[in-house]
């Protein structure tokens, strides 16, 4: 595979063979590195917790129960993330999906960042203008976005630990409006930008929204609450399936 990679990239990155660039062995190594760091962190934390648990008024068995319930609670959501990640493999390749969508970030932020970044170079994520160069720019933008999240965690956590949660108290009115407005503004704009592209884009957008809506609605029933975490995965796959059918039916020549 390395030989193919260097050959494919030698064209100056104008090729649309994203996966050749995305499967670069160094990217695989970095994805594995993130895995290793999280494993290391978990081991250090569990050791420290086991040692100090009695002082926190916690029995060793309560600690074990917490670990186990965390693990069990994560099975469903993890598999739901897996489904979303697999759908995004075609766009970003395995290493980037593992480190960005699987860990650190999430599908919404990272697909959004990637699309915003591609646009700054006059390209569209996933379309014919989505070359290796654009992939690299998008991957860079997603990663530095994730890095900023971690950076602000690194800076804010000690501050909040010392000063309680003053930050949130600064202005409760602003705290209740700004985050929601920022998120809705971002995702609505990203969605609206898809509308003029083609009728199939509109179809995909509508299908995805409808499936998500149904999942959330049905998920209100206690027995179907799992639908809420699977909603995103189902919505993406359904939208892609509908888009595929419309695409092949509408443009047989292409």
């Amino acid at each position: 595979m390395p030989a193919i990679v260097s050959q494919a990239v030698a064209a100056g990155g104008g090729s649309t063979d994203i996966l050749a660039a995305a499967n670069n062995p160094v990217l695989w190594a970095c994805a594995a590195g993130v895995f290793a760091v999280i494993i290391l962190q978990s081991v250090i934390y569990m050791k420290a917790a086991r040692k100090a648990a009695p002082a926190a008024g916690m029995t060793p068995s309560e600690l074990k129960v917490s670990f186990r319930s965390g693990a069990v609670a994560a099975i469903g959501p993890s598999l739901a993330v897996v489904m979303v990640a697999i759908a995004l493999l075609a766009v970003f390749g395995t290493p980037a999906v593992l480190s960005r969508i699987g860990l650190i970030g999430s599908a919404a932020y990272d697909a959004g960042s990637a699309s915003i970044a591609a646009k700054t170079s006059g390209a569209e994520l996933g379309g014919p203008t989505y070359t290796q160069n654009i992939f690299a720019i998008a991957f860079f933008a997603m990663s530095i976005g994730g890095a900023m999240w971690m950076l602000s965690t690194l800076i804010l956590t000690p501050l909040m630990k010392r000063g309680g949660t003053k930050l949130a108290k600064v202005n409760p009115a602003a705290m209740s409006i700004v985050p929601g407005a920022a998120l809705l503004g971002a995702f609505m704009a990203l969605g609206a930008a898809e509308v003029p592209k083609s009728s199939i884009h509109v179809l995909a957008l509508g299908t995805s929204a409808a499936v998500m809506g149904v999942c959330i609605f049905l998920g209100k029933r206690p027995k179907l609450s799992w639908l809420r975490e699977w909603g995103l995965g189902f919505a993406i796959v359904a939208a892609l399936a509908v888009a595929f059918m419309a695409h092949t039916a509408g443009a047989p020549a292409a």
């Binding site: 990239v9 660039a21 590195g33 993130v34 999280i38 962190q41 250090i44 934390y45 917790a49 040692k51 648990a53 002082a55 916690m58 074990k64 129960v65 917490s66 693990a71 994560a74 959501p77 598999l79 993330v81 990640a85 759908a87 493999l89 395995t94 593992l98 860990l103 650190i104 999430s106 697909a111 960042s113 700054t120 170079s121 996933g126 720019i137 998008a138 933008a141 999240w149 804010l156 909040m160 108290k169 705290m175 209740s176 929601g180 407005a181 920022a182 503004g185 995702f187 609505m188 704009a189 969605g191 609206a192 930008a193 509308v195 499936v211 909603g231 919505a235 939208a239 892609l240 595929f244």
Partner: protein, 254 residues
């Protein structure tokens, strides 16, 4: 992001006033704090650097033709959209997760859909309140458990199975998935954020702003294509702030 409105002020006092029993236990807890904040920070910094190393290698060392200007523009455009969230999200989750788990959560990702539920289930299971010592320990152990499950399922289903899947899927199918992935993600994400943020006024403003920018402003000034999302975020925040409900924000906690 769903917990934006959780009252942060209530937990601030509980955290600082947790029982101060015998000196020995106090010392053990202090050591736990030291270990987790030192290693939490170190591992998170390592994760940050490794996750950046991949794209930096790809951009500068594989023969792609990308200018520094392109990278800065991409970063600026992404920052214009998500910078608010970078700061707000850590501040939002701190009261629930506690300082130690912060360094885990923002590296593992998918916090609201996976880690928070895992932490809450564990806290619930052993009857520990968020924001107390026991609550923090339960969250740490639960997140370790969730991380273990998540890493294993990602490695198996995305790393191995997904990569294999993508290698046998016909190229035509991959092209279609790539072409329509963005609307397929955004449709669901929009519905999800509307439901979790639960602010009809902000939702309407965000939708109006997105439509206005995409279909009125952009056709007049096509040069702004790459900053439209950033503009939409700023305009939504501003308009939502100006149009906010000016009654006392007592109800903001729910």
């Amino acid at each position: 992001m769903s917990q934006t409105t959780i009252s942060t002020s209530a937990t601030a006092s509980t955290r600082t006033s947790t029982t101060a029993p015998a000196a020995g236990t106090e010392q053990e807890l202090a050591e736990f704090d030291r270990t987790t904040s030192r290693w939490g920070r170190l591992t998170m910094l390592a994760g940050l650097l490794i996750s950046l190393a991949g794209p930096i290698y790809l951009v500068f060392f594989t023969g792609l033709e990308i200018s520094a200007g392109q990278l800065w523009t991409a970063f600026a455009a992404v920052a214009a959209v998500f910078a608010v969230i970078w700061v707000v999200e850590p501040a939002t989750y701190f009261p629930i997760l506690g300082p130690a788990a912060m360094y885990q959560a923002f590296m593992i990702g998918n916090i609201s859909s996976k880690l928070l539920p895992a932490a809450l289930v564990a806290q619930n299971r052993i009857g520990a309140k968020p924001g107390t010592r026991r609550g923090d320990f339960a969250a740490v152990a639960a997140i370790c458990g969730a991380a273990a499950v998540h890493l294993v399922s990602l490695a198996i289903f995305v790393g191995f199975l997904g990569t294999w899947l993508i290698s046998i899927i016909p190229a035509g199918l991959i092209d279609v998935a790539r072409l329509y992935i963005l609307p397929a993600v955004m449709g669901a994400v929009i519905v999800q954020s509307i439901v979790t943020i639960k602010q009809p006024r902000v939702t309407i403003i965000a939708a109006a702003v997105a439509v206005l920018i995409q279909f009125v402003v952009l056709p007049v000034a096509p040069g702004i294509a790459f900053v439209t999302t950033g503009i939409a975020v700023a305009a939504t925040i501003l308009a939502s702030w100006l149009a906010r409900d000016r009654k006392p924000v007592a109800a903001a906690a729910d």
